[in-house]
Amino acid sequence: MNLEREWVERLKEDVVIPKKVQEKTGQAYYKIRRQAHIDPHLGEPKIGNRGSYFKKFAVGAAVLTVVCATATLGAKAILKWNDDFAKQHEVDEGLQSKLSEAGTTAVMEEEQTIEGVTVKAVQSIASGNYAYLMFEVSSEKELPAADLGAMFNDVNAVDADGGEISLSASFSSEKNKSGALIYEVMLQSVPVEGVSFNGRKVTVTLKDIVIEGVEPTLIQEGTWTFPITLPEKDASSVYELNQEVGQSGMKVNRVELSPVAVTFYYGNQSEDESMVPLALAMKDGSLISLSERFNGGADMYNTMSKEYIVTRGLSQFIDTEAVEAIMFGNLTDEQMEDDAGGSVPARENMIEIKLNQ
């Protein structure tokens, strides 16, 4: 252990909360309980500080008006990908054509404008339990710099039955060529056989653009709603492996690969938590690091099949037919702590499990 780690560990050690601090906090708690007992509704919701951006943009805008709402149901599939979508997910022209022809992706032309701020759904891709939707946000007025931390204050997606879908979403850190902000939503569901996003109707609602912070700064109020039919065809493939990963005691039953996600089904939960899938070995000899490509996911335990399931979205879309093997390995503590990740050991230092395509 180096010195830096030693002093950090020392500072992290729990300390004894002194009696005088406990007494003072006890008094505060007593006051709070008494107050809650007298007036359980103490503190009605207050209007937050709207900050300078809101003042700049919302002068005279007392009523929210939908100027133009041209959202159309369904998606129009064409071969030409949206440039930002292709760039964001590092998809070359060959893979663009392949995924378009497979019916896994669709270009959309649905937009809504509220007080001069237009949100346009531009492209979607869905495969199994993952779907990505890209939106473009443009405005006649000045939009904040992309790196300022713009976000929609509330984002949700529901299916046709009104069931809420798990998602993660964010603006990209750069504006696109036309000066629009790019916003992407990743939808995710539990990997259950026969359940897939493909062909499903979902409604995505984006509410209020703000600059994130302890007290978000409101830039534009509004609710942009998009009913979207996700692309019909699922391009994922399942590979039965039934192999132990080295001597780790961890058995991989199968792997499900899709252009947008990878899902591992383990026969048991590994005792060696540092043994993780590190990379996809491609047929051309290249390695795609999974640690830096993971883009959200979940760990689950199927109590019926007794399988431990690890699923991850991929930020770089892949050609599943070009994958030769999954590479597993041990990560050092430093690598595990490194947010950026991405470093992959040499191929000979990893354990390879071939996909037998």
């Binding site: 950090v8 500072l11 909360i17 002194p18 994130e212 959200g296 990740g341």
Partner: protein
């Protein structure tokens, strides 16, 4: 994650920024539920939330005020203010940043009051931690470097705040935070080295 079939047990969910251990994520879920309840003025949830953050609050207050009595006052005021204002907290994930910012404001308030009564020049940074105080060793290590460095160092390494969040808490720009972190790291290495030297002799 919502709407799981019954035969699935969710161990953890990752968002685009987080790839952490299942245990940490479980703790985050618990905290999120507590924050939501606290926002609805549930006193039990709020108190539980405060107790979960007591170590952090105490350590930050000591790092600022170097005095248990003042730290106790700052924490008490912080708890009351947080309860009063928690319904204005928009995003649960900013709870800790918000809490620490309020605490630091309280600490600054206490110090300003002290300054009006004391000639600050008479107080040296190397304040002696009284023997009858608790956590003597911990405090000696933290207080061994100047305040401007120790606060940033503590928030970054111990509390795990990002540079941008620290900037928001301390109302400083990110470059200044980076500089303080870099210098603070060196100073702490020297201070810790000296301490090891002392304990070895």
């Amino acid at each position: 994650m919502k709407h799981f079939p019954r035969f699935f047990r969710l161990i953890s969910v990752y968002n685009e920024e987080c790839v952490r251990t299942s245990l940490e994520k479980k703790e985050e879920c618990t905290v999120e539920i507590l924050i939501k309840k606290a926002r609805n003025k549930d006193p039990d949830a709020f108190i539980q939330l405060m107790e979960l953050n007591m170590q952090s609050m105490y350590k930050v207050a000591i790092a600022y005020l170097k005095n248990e009595d003042d730290a106790a006052d700052a924490i008490q005021d912080t708890i009351l203010t947080c309860y009063e204002k928690i319904d204005t907290l928009k995003k649960t994930r900013f709870f800790k940043t918000w809490l620490i910012r309020i605490l630091i404001n309280k600490c600054n308030g206490i110090r300003k009051k002290q300054q009006s009564h004391t000639n600050l020049e008479q107080i040296t940074e190397a304040a002696v931690w009284e023997e009858n105080y608790t956590n003597v060793e911990w405090n000696e290590l933290l207080l061994s470097i100047e305040e401007k460095y120790r606060i940033v160092l503590y928030l970054y390494y111990v509390e795990g705040f990002k540079i941008r969040e620290i900037g928001e808490i301390l109302e400083m720009n990110e470059n200044s935070i980076r500089t303080r972190l870099s210098r603070g790291r060196k100073k702490m290495a020297i201070a810790y080295g000296k301490e090891i030297g002392r304990s070895n002799t």
